[in-house]
Amino acid sequence: MDSVTIVCVSIAIAIGTSQLVHGGLQEFLTRPAGVGATPSEGETAANPDTTPPPSAVQNAPTQPTPSPPTDRHRHTHSHG
């Protein structure tokens, strides 16, 4: 019965390996749209909310332009 188990495992490994070689690693690792937790293309198009929100940096108010560094700062950094 061990040989049956080994044959079964070998078949699964052989199928997986052949498909990995045939389709490439990226294809092998990623789920197609609409499969499992990956939303379908239709869902993504119909629900813009599912797209990632803009980052917090984009929403943040514009930072004031820093004043030009003084001679003292520049001197300190030059020695740092």
């Binding site: 019965m1 188990t5 199928i15 045939h22 690792l29 990623t30 789920r31 749209a33």
Partner: protein, 278 residues
């Protein structure tokens, strides 16, 4: 040799394996009225996934339009979920014995194990034949073109030695080695969880699968099992066992109920041949 092994299996309590043959068939309360009716009720439940898929399969065989596409949309939701639910029911047999001492249901472990294999085999066969719209390529691509597919296929193939040895003749032939073969059940369990994680990530169905698995795994731990069994036999720690039992059932239900609902919704849609298409 065979007689000695048969008696050995008869003398020990049900094991954590795929089937327990001698004990179940010789159990004293198996022939009682309620137990016998309950066994047949739970056996009848095993027909549900095949009945749910039958209209779509018949339509596809008759060459009706959308027949293949309907199967492609339903097969994973109906047969995949059914396979997992049957597996969980099979795994629940031993913990139920540990906690209650019942024996009438032990024979169901073999029935559910064999039914799980047929549900998984039907799932993989239909997927290989019909899911070309989702997984373009050959039938091998549809069962092994992605990591989660390989895990599912491996779990199904690992059921082959379990099913082949799910009979008394194999039990006598393999002797003590039979038990180690049946421990492949745990490898299947882990592989199924990996399959669901690769498919769903840390969300929905994978978390439900963890929820149903946790109590079943806990009650298989040797010290927990020994403590519970001894407490039950000596009628001690009743309050503690009651509280623990309720907590374990609650965790189990958190995972099992949504999965059963998923099967009910997707299965009924498949039965009337209007599955939701992604």
């Amino acid at each position: 040799m065979s007689t000695r092994h048969t008696h050995a299996y008869t003398a020990i309590p049900p094991t954590d394996t795929f089937v327990t043959l001698a004990r179940a068939e010789n159990s004293p309360d198996r022939g009682s009225g309620y137990g016998r009716h309950a066994v047949w009720f739970f056996r009848a439940l095993l027909l549900i996934p095949f009945a749910l898929m039958a209209p779509e399969v018949i339509s596809a065989i008759m060459g009706q339009p959308d027949g293949i596409a309907n199967i492609s949309a339903s097969v994973a939701d109906v047969l995949g979920t059914s396979t997992f639910l049957i597996f969980i029911m099979m795994l629940a047999v031993t913990p139920l014995y540990t906690t209650t001492g019942w024996r009438w249901h032990v024979i169901l472990r073999r029935d559910y194990g064999i039914a799980m294999f047929f549900a998984a085999a039907t799932d993989i066969t239909l997927a290989a034949a019909t899911t070309g719209d989702t997984f373009p390529g050959s039938p091998l691509t549809r069962v092994g073109g992605h990591t989660f597919l390989v895990a599912g296929t491996l779990a199904t193939l690992l059921l082959v030695p379990l099913v082949l040895t799910a009979n008394k003749r194999a039990q006598r032939w393999l002797g003590r080695h039979w038990k180690s073969v049946q421990r492949l059940t745990y490898v299947v369990w882990g592989t199924v969880l990996v399959h669901l994680f690769l498919l769903f990530g840390l969300s929905t169905i994978f978390l439900y699968a963890l929820a149903v698995s946790a109590p079943l795994a806990l009650l298989r731990m040797p010290f927990v099992r020994r403590w519970w069994d001894a407490s039950r036999r000596t009628h001690s720690h009743r309050a503690l066992r009651a509280v623990a039992g309720i907590a374990l059932i609650a965790v189990f239900a958190v995972g099992y109920v949504p999965l059963a609902q998923e099967l009910a919704v997707k299965g009924s849609a498949a039965f009337v041949q209007s599955p939701a298409r992604d």
